[in-house]
């Protein structure tokens, strides 16, 4: 029996290790490849030893900065993503609060509409949205990459379901203590909803950081384009150097990792309390 258990757990761990390798290998290959001279990247790609850097060289990183306006792409991505996150937290949390706590006519119908909006992908509305922003004269600006993504049905729903579970007495106590609706929200409700704020912040940031289709449609100038368009352009820039592309990739992933590590504690709480998969 004990022997059988041992074999079973060995098998389980074996499968887990294999899965971990499959998931980690591309990332590891990217990080290691970014630190190798370009010639060796393809040469060692087929072997396991290729996953070890042997020597560390930073030339690929220097190349990225020399060949494309990386800082410009990075700034654009950060500016756009952070703007959407900050404005989105404010707008969506207030909307979620209004749905969960305030009494108004048509609330339930509108909530149903918002929830049903969650299933509509951007691709489905990209073309009409494109016409709309063209009419507004917003093309090729930061605005066009920020404003359409501030209000988000999924974020509203996350906030809504979290606020529903928050004890009503807290808000009533605040009202009796002399806080009006705004101060009740900002002093009492929001600080107690940190986990869901963190979840929404991370999910929004990740989505926007990787945003490709929409910026491609509405921008033409490098000065307002974000990192995903930058890396796509970099692919097509001769000569094709995989080491440089990997270096670009590493630098693109780093801010995301940083955000995740910073908010990880709250994010886990948020996912646990909202029952949403990360």
């Amino acid at each position: 029996m004990k022997r059988q258990q041992k074999i079973a757990s060995l098998l389980v761990y074996g499968v887990l290790l294999l899965l971990a390798f499959i998931f980690v290998a591309p990332v590891a290959m990217m990080v290691v490849g970014s630190l190798k001279p370009d010639a060796r990247v393809l040469q060692e790609a087929g072997s396991l030893s290729g996953l070890l850097p042997h020597t560390i060289e930073w030339q690929n990183y220097a190349d990225v900065f020399a060949r494309v306006p990386f800082i410009n792409y990075l700034f654009n991505s950060l500016f756009i993503s952070v703007s959407i996150v900050v404005c989105g937290l404010l707008v969506n949390s207030l909307a979620g609060y209004a749905f969960s706590r305030l009494q108004w006519k048509g609330r339930d119908a509108l909530l149903l509409l918002v929830v049903s909006l969650m299933i509509i992908p951007l691709e489905a509305i990209a073309v009409p949205l494109f016409y709309e922003v063209t009419l507004l004269g917003w093309r090729n600006t930061y605005l066009v990459q920020i404003v359409p993504f501030i209000a988000n049905a999924f974020s509203i729903y996350l906030f809504y379901s979290f606020f529903l579970g928050l004890p009503r007495e807290l808000e009533e106590a605040a009202r009796i203590d002399g806080a009006g609706p705004w101060r009740t929200f900002f002093y009492i409700v929001a600080p107690n909803a940190r986990p869901v704020f963190a979840s929404v912040a991370i999910l929004t940031f990740l989505t926007q950081w990787g945003s490709f289709l929409w910026p491609l449609m509405v921008t033409s100038s490098e000065s307002v384009r974000p990192l995903p368009l930058g890396i796509a352009a970099f692919y097509t820039l001769p000569p094709l150097q995989w080491g440089d592309i990997f270096a670009f990739g590493v630098m693109m992933v780093l801010p995301v990792l940083l955000v995740f590590i910073l908010f990880q504690r709250w994010f886990v709480q948020g996912v646990a309390s909202t029952g949403v998969k990360g």
């Binding site: 807290l170 009533e172 106590a173 002399g178 107690n192």
Partner: protein, 374 residues
């Protein structure tokens, strides 16, 4: 301190439930009134209407002589202690206590002084830096009291403040609340479902049932002169025993027919007169458990009883029995007897009641007569 008045106040919720039905109640300045009743009786609704957390459907609420129906909670200057305390979890005890003062834009130094003063009063000084999660139930309760008292409200509202505490702590904090109220003499409305709290704390007690005020009076008055069967059953622990009865004029005087027995009541002229005045055949007889004895004393009425069970509580025993000879009866009475009782299940014996401990209620369950009421 301010006087509080409910004038014919009703509350109907959106789903049609009438939670409060024409409540009229006056609380004198500095008085502590306890609203007591079973869950769903409208007592918490009354408190929430007074606090301004719910709008009034009909009627008028006045604080200090001013109509406050349209006023926000902060304009009413009321403070409230919630059943689950509703302490702000992200703020320390100090910040919790300071919150109402900060919302009133008081000066920092003044806030510090007031918080220190209230912390001293409630013995919270050592806990000021802790978060609510690091406090025991009793400490949380004191912080909630402190937060309510710190800004010197004109009316103090408590919504079942002890229901989350264990029995020992409940008795202790009950005493503390009583002492603080007597010291500060704040107009207080205290809501509870526990009649022991109501009886020990209230200057006056308002018994509520089904959204209506059943009786308002001193604890002693509620116990001795209940106006109806609901109050008689609700006040007292255990509540009053009630059974249908009939009183008739027969050849040998007034006879009380109860549980298949005939008891001569000729000596009780007051009772007989009261009964004749209300000219009814059937009614309800009520006897408090503590008025029933297993020993024959002077001037006692004997009632046949079949013992159902005996609960021994140490200083006393609760004897549950079926009154009368009718073994099919599902009416169970309780007698509260000092010390240990020696009787066994299904034993049939006499129990004794002093006539002056008997209460009569008419068929509408309203009080008719007791010797105490004279």
């Amino acid at each position: 301190m301010a006087q509080v008045e409910f004038r014919q106040v009703s509350k109907r919720f959106a789903n049609g439930v009438m939670a409060l039905d024409h409540l009229s109640l006056e609380i004198a300045a500095g008085e502590l009134i306890v609203l007591v009743g079973p869950s769903g009786c409208g007592k918490s609704t009354a408190l929430r209407l007074l606090a301004g957390l719910e709008p009034v459907t009909e009627g008028e609420i006045r604080i200090g002589g001013q109509r406050v129906n349209e006023a926000t909670p902060q304009q009413r200057n009321v403070a409230m202690v919630f059943q689950n305390y509703a302490l702000y979890p992200h703020l320390s005890v100090q910040q919790n206590l300071a919150f109402p003062l900060r919302m009133a834009h008081l000066d920092d130094a003044l806030v510090r002084d007031k918080v220190a003063e209230i912390a001293e009063l409630l013995d919270l000084t050592a806990l000021l830096q802790r978060k609510p999660v690091q406090l025991s139930g009793g400490q949380r309760q004191r912080v909630a009291m402190g937060r309510a008292l710190v800004r010197d409200p004109s009316v103090f509202l408590l919504d079942e403040p002890l229901s989350n505490l264990d029995a020992t702590l409940r008795a202790q904090i009950r005493g503390e609340i009583g002492a603080i109220q007597k010291r500060l003499r704040k107009t207080t409305l205290y809501v509870t479902h526990d009649q022991v709290e109501a009886m020990t704390l209230g200057d006056r007690v308002a018994v509520m049932y089904a959204g209506q005020l059943q009786q308002l009076g001193s604890p002693e008055m509620l116990y001795l002169q209940p106006e109806n069967i609901f109050v008689a059953r609700f006040i007292g622990s255990p509540g009053m025993n009630i059974i249908t009865a009939a009183l008739r004029q027969e050849a040998d005087g007034m006879i009380l027919r109860v549980a298949g027995q005939s008891i001569s009541m000729s000596a009780e002229t007051g009772l007989c007169d009261a009964w004749q005045q209300c000219s009814q055949q059937t009614a309800f007889l009520g006897i408090r458990p503590e008025a029933i004895s297993l020993d024959k004393n002077e001037r006692v009425v004997a009632l046949r009883a079949r013992i159902r069970s005996v609960e021994y509580l140490g200083h006393e025993s609760l004897v549950h029995f079926y009154p009368g000879d009718n073994s099919a009866s599902d009416t169970v009475w309780v007698a509260r007897i000092t010390g240990r009782v020696d009787c066994s299940k299904d034993e049939t014996r006499d129990v004794y009641v002093k006539p002056e401990a008997m209460y009569l209620f008419d068929k509408n369950e309203q009080f008719i007569y007791t010797v105490h009421a004279e």
